[in-house]
Amino acid sequence: MDAVRAWLLHTSADFYLAVGEPELVEVLARPRTHYVPGAPEQCRQIIVWRDRLLPMVHPAALAGLEGGGEQPVFVAVIAYQEAPGEPLQYGALALADAPVPIQVNAGPPGEPPLAGEVWDRLLLSCFRQEDKSVLVVDMELLFNTNPADLR
């Protein structure tokens, strides 16, 4: 069975995501963050990256979990596209730890550990990795959708 190279992202506490190897563009250690008042709880900060302003998402907060604080230890810069052939866009994910390279075996998706309308739309897949539930999320939807429209 084919294995896919990916990155395991420890976002906070026991909340793990995975992205395909090419989706993770850069990891920043303790970048300066800029607070945006009145923004939704899971995305209240901006970082500056290569002359761009990137929204920084705390994915765990979307699940109602503790999001990991305002000054994350690491931030992952993620590339995504609205559709194949479209220009790359970028967003940032707050991490609690450095990303870990993993091999993911193709197979039937696991049972997601979360319930809720938000995850019904965001979740592409789910698998187990060393006893952890790992979510694969639609990054384009995560960064390019008003959170109110996810519910």
Binding site: Y35, V36, G38, A39, P40, L53, P55, G91, F143, P147
Partner: protein, 157 residues
């Protein structure tokens, strides 16, 4: 500094006013700013009212508020300036730690808030990068006034 002489389309003040408050850097169009004065010129308000200070001018009283980083009314600190925004009924003052003027509209390239930052209760209309590292939060004077009014209504209600 009076930023609002009789305004015509040809004389519309251009550029931006950058306001440092509560660790934020707000960018407001100069045409939405009436006046900037040193905070020392203000009359401190009594402790039982929401405004931090007042400016008495030509028989009018313009209220001045201190804001926290959520842009909510907060107690006055050691701010050095008051920036008066054009609001519906009378100019609305905000206390600021520092103020800068950018003379041209093109000095800030405003971009909309990313979609994932919408859906909250923000008076911001966009963002801009300044000098490669500073993040300017673009705000509209009327939106700030409406948010403050809502805060005041809640306090009274």
């Amino acid at each position: 500094m009076n930023l609002s002489p009789a305004t015509t389309a040809a004389h519309r003040p251009r550029g931006w006013v950058l306001i440092n408050l509560a660790g934020l850097l707000l960018g407001i169009r100069q045409e939405q700013v009436r006046q900037i004065i040193p905070a020392a010129m203000l009359e401190t308000a009594p402790p039982d009212v929401p405004e931090a200070a007042n400016l008495f001018r030509s028989g009018e009283c313009w209220p001045v508020y201190a804001l926290d980083r959520e842009l909510r009314i907060s107690p006055r600190g050691g701010q050095r300036f008051a920036v008066f925004l054009e609001a519906l009924h009378h100019p609305l003052g905000l206390l600021a730690d520092a103020v800068r003027i950018l003379p041209e509209d093109k000095d800030l390239r405003a971009q909309p808030l990313p979609p994932c930052m919408l859906g909250g209760n923000t008076p911001l209309t966009g963002l801009s990068l300044l000098d490669g590292s500073e993040v300017v939060l673009i705000a509209d004077a009327q939106d700030i006034a409406c948010r403050l009014q809502a805060d005041l209504d809640r306090e009274i209600g």
